[in-house]
Amino acid sequence: MSANEIPSREVARRVFADEFNDAAFTFKESDDDRAPVYLLLPTGAKANRVFFVGTLTEKDDVGEDNEYWRGRIVDPTGTFFVYAGQYQPEAASTLRDLEPPAYVAVVGKPRTYETDDGNVNVSVRPESIQVVDAATRDRWVVETAERTLDRIDAFDDEGNEYARMAREEYDLPIDRYTESAVSALESLEEGDGDELGFDGGKASGSGDSAADADLQPEP
């Protein structure tokens, strides 16, 4: 990319936790040091950024000298791990202050690291973490199911280079992601998406400060 070209912002992919955690392969599309690093999703897309909404179920300060917060954020298919330290001060302070369980929306970058036994773990380095309401969580589940199905639908298209890459790198049956998308959608129909016990109707109210109070998890 030339110096005077404004790089366009990377889109935030929608991906469920089970597919995200199955990903391990990262790549760049240029030799530039600052070129974006992409995580290859098993359904055939590149992700330099993700957006997800789920339930923060646990948070721990796993840092030694400095604060380093780890959060477990659960969606209908699995768990996202987010890590925020001194270089993500806003996300770190959000994690410090939050009491789980709470619905949170996370924008962040995928990070991979190889464990001693040779497995690759995937986590998210958050750019922002915000408390949201149940309606937003449900909307994300539906949207993410739709985006996932779109990718699966296009998986066998000729010229889908990321699908070709996913076949080479992962060799995973992608049916499983259709199934998990379906069960995620079905979980909304059954449970009314309200497992935190607050009133979705009330929380999705006018967006004024009274409604915001409703966004806090109840004690």
Binding site: F51, A105, Q130, A181, G205
Partner: protein, 309 residues
Amino acid sequence: MSDLRTHAAEIAEQFSDHLDVDEDEVAERLENLVEEYRVPVDEARRSVVNSYLEEAGLERDEIGRGGNDEVLLADIDQDEQWIDVTAKVVELWEPRSDSIAQVGLLGDESGRTKFVAFETSDLPKLEAGAVYRLGNVVTDEYQGNFSVKLNKTTSIEELDEDIEVGDDSVTVEGALVDIQSGSGLIKRCPEEGCTRVLQNGRCSEHGDVEGEFDLRIKGVLDDGEEVYEVIFGRDVTEELTGVTLEEAQQMAKDALDTTVVVEEMREDLLGTYYRVSGPELGRYVLADDVERLTEPADPEAVLIKARSI
């Protein structure tokens, strides 16, 4: 039928200066081609026009491209179409190249579209604010945006009327994934017509100035496929956050820091879904209207899709 009738009327009108063409006769020829010989309407029209051209000894250019449609600017959706438009010159811009005589924005009730006139076409200059009927302009497409080019054969007729220019607003939806710097409580340059946002009390044009407070949000909406940069002006920002400019100034005063305003906005707005409508300006959508999407999402349609895979 009535369609063919319209085409016939247009063709007859086109040749009225050159030939004694009877509308019924044109219609009959069109009907013959379309109904007897199953020729597509466009092709039939072309063929009939050609035969009249020959009869009149004219070139295609001389009568305008086979009777252009009068098109509303917002309806332009194809590259290289020859059309007529009636529009007001909304803005004239500084041409960036010597080959361009004029460049700017045309507007009609449907919206706005960029126009370009080239030096080589040697056309009379359009004036800002005036309304023209422009015959025989050609559409152009660049990265999904359409414009019109004037050319040597373009007819320009100034009309003594005004047009209420519509906004061609776009509507985008997505999660608000970022609020960018330059958002919240900002200061603008007070110089007449400037309104630039100050950086550390300085205007890039007028230097150190006593700025005027304003509220705005430069946000990023993301639907998982596309990224949209949106700008919420003061009114929309106040409505969305429930914080007025006066309250924001008070917050900043209490905290001795203007950034508390944008921090509160981030907490309030990030991570939720919005539908934003407004005109596009460069890479931004200027939000006239913002709606927080709170209606329960409906999994049913997506389930049906899933089961069809």
